[in-house]
């Protein structure tokens, strides 16, 4: 035990070895692959239109490098190239005032507000439904089938109906759109919370029984804390669904503002670059929202002592 036999691990001399060891390497690789596929698809999909242009101009024998450059610089491409989308996003976010109707941030803000309102209502509704379902057999039998069947209806079909009905009773503006977000987001919260509230082990329930705890005490001291991790998981799904709901809610109303409105206007005028930049913006927004919920989850569970 006196000899020091520490052997240093063999060093890998490949420059990529260090990069691939962490998570950064693989993440960069995946992004690079996506971009490569995207560029390739853009060239292939935009080529027929570009060839038409050449033919009408009487150009023949266009070199392949020229073709590629041209297909990636069309004004209304079938599939815009990533740099076109990035440029469009840059122009409509950084270079435009937030108050401008052409600012993507302005539109994102509109969609975000109805997403958040719908998400909050949906989460509260979901929790309340779950509490009812867990505590009452009658509610379980009578409500659960409706909760499930509500999600089998295509949202595109029911969204205009909700808007029309709410408009007829004089509710317009933010709330009808938020209602569609609610419609989509209450479901995962209900299902997750029912599962969560039912998940305490028998031994924990027996323990409450030996203390002759009331139903309310069992709920607040046992069932609810137990369900918190489930709640956050469902809220992550719920907030993404909420955003989809808000965008879908903007489509049938012919809304003039919001990411949905940008998609609609883009398709009217064949502005594919605008459509794609709105789509990317929606994806970024969804990603950030889910990320924020995830961060709150981490903090909460840490405070509760459930995360190690």
């Amino acid at each position: 035990m006196t000899t020091d036999t520490a052997i240093s691990p063999p060093r890998n001399l490949s420059p990529f070895a260090g990069l691939m060891r962490g998570t950064a390497g693989p993440v960069i690789l995946v992004v690079a692959v996506i971009f490569a596929i995207w560029y390739l698809a853009a060239v292939l999909l935009n080529t027929p239109f570009q060839e038409g242009i050449y033919e009408r101009a009487g150009q023949t024998d266009v070199p392949i490098s020229q073709l590629i450059t041209d297909t990636l610089a069309q004004e209304r491409p079938v599939l815009p190239a990533p740099h076109q989308v990035v440029e469009e996003i840059y122009k409509t976010t950084v270079l435009k005032k937030i108050t401008s109707k052409r600012s993507l941030i302005f539109h994102t803000g509109i969609t975000l507000s109805s997403t958040m309102l719908g998400f909050v209502i949906g989460t509260v509704l979901g929790i309340l439904l779950a509490i009812g379902i867990v505590h009452s057999r009658v509610l379980d039998k009578s409500l659960m089938p409706w909760v499930i069947s509500s999600q089998t209806i295509p949202i595109l079909a029911i969204a205009p109906m909700i808007i029309v009905v709410l408009n007829a009773v004089g509710i317009s503006g933010l709330l009808p759109k938020a209602m569609i977000s609610t419609y989509l987001s209450f479901f995962p919260v209900t299902v997750g919370m029912v599962k969560g509230l039912r998940s305490p082990e028998i031994i924990h329930l027996d323990l409450m029984h030996t203390y002759s705890a009331s139903r309310a005490q069992t709920f607040w001291k046992l069932r609810f804390p137990y369900a918190v991790p489930y709640l956050f998981t469902s809220m992550k799904i719920g907030i993404a669904a909420s955003l989809v709901g808000a965008i879908v809610g903007e489509l049938p109303t012919g809304a003039v503002a919001g990411l949905g409105a940008r998609l609609l206007a883009g398709s009217y005028y064949g502005q594919t670059v605008q459509i794609w930049s709105a789509l990317i913006m929606a994806a970024l927004l969804a990603g950030s929202l889910v990320g924020i919920v995830g961060m709150i989850e981490k903090l909460t569970l840490k405070r509760m002592g459930m995360a190690r």
Partner: protein, 271 residues
């Protein structure tokens, strides 16, 4: 002499637990299962009673009947002169489960506070009881730790402190040390005896370990399965204040032998 003492106790005070002709039958898809059959048992104040028997003999079920976690189908049972249901509502007992069953989102102090919050005690009273009972199970200083930061033995001690904090005269323990290793178990057994001597509670203790039952108990109830029934009741004549060394004495081995004989006779090994 023993009989005379029991008779005297009978005359002066009612037993803490009085079970008469108690039966419990579970209805299952494969027909009725006779978990308990014609149980007759009296447990006096200050007794340390162990239920021992093989799996399926109904020892845990019997404890759960006393705790009002199961309902008997026939016979009568009283706890402190009340029905188990009334006794439970009055929080007449503390129950220690096979697992510590601590809430992972509560600190050790928070876990011990749980029944006290449910009882609606004042914050000051809660603090006092937490401190006292953590001291009693030698866990002082671990108040702010979360359960996962403690060893299995310490978790089980915390769960005992939680049961004691209700300040019941009756402690029901369902194989509390079954999941722990031999060394920790010996240590906790010794501590449990000291605790029992200090607090003078009545303890009902379920186990499947012969040395544990003999070492701890003043009275050992041997149960046997199919149907679950009492085969033998052994009054221990070991001194009340005993140390682990008592296990080497002939008296201890004699009682252990009788328990083993009872377990062997009551159990048919053809299945």
């Amino acid at each position: 002499m023993n009989q005379a003492a029991t008779a005297a106790a009978d005359a002066s005070a009612k037993p803490v637990i009085d079970i008469e002709k108690l039966s419990l039958t579970f209805q299952t898809n494969d027909g009725p299962v006779h978990a308990l059959s014609e149980i007759e048992l009296k447990i006096e104040e200050g007794d340390f009673v162990s239920f021992i028997g093989p799996s399926g003999c109904g020892k845990t079920t019997l404890l759960r009947v006393i705790a009002d976690l199961e309902q008997p189908t026939a016979g009568s049972i009283s706890v402190n002169g009340l029905t188990p249901h009334e006794a439970r509502l009055k929080r007449a007992y503390g129950y220690v489960f096979q697992a510590a069953a601590l809430y992972p989102w509560r600190t050790i102090a928070g876990n011990i506070a749980l029944p006290l919050e449910i009882m609606g005690l004042s914050k000051a009273e809660q603090q006092q009881r937490i401190a006292r009972n953590m001291e009693l199970v030698n866990l002082a200083g671990f108040e702010k730790k979360f359960p996962w930061q403690l060893s299995g033995g310490m978790q089980q001690r915390a769960s005992i402190a939680r049961a004691l904090s209700v300040e019941p005269d009756l402690l029901l323990m369902d194989e509390p040390f079954g999941a722990l290793d031999e060394i920790v178990r010996d240590h906790l057994n010794e501590q449990l005896l000291q605790l029992w001597a200090k607090t003078n509670k009545t303890v009902v203790f379920v186990t499947h370990s012969i040395p544990e039952a003999v070492f701890l108990s003043t009275k050992i109830v041997v149960l046997c399965p199919r149907p679950g029934r009492i085969y033998d009741v052994i009054e221990s004549d070991l001194p009340r204040d005993r140390t682990l060394d008592v296990r080497e004495t002939p008296e201890f081995l004699k009682i252990a032998h009788r328990v083993r004989e009872g377990l062997r006779a009551g159990h048919s090994y053809d299945d």
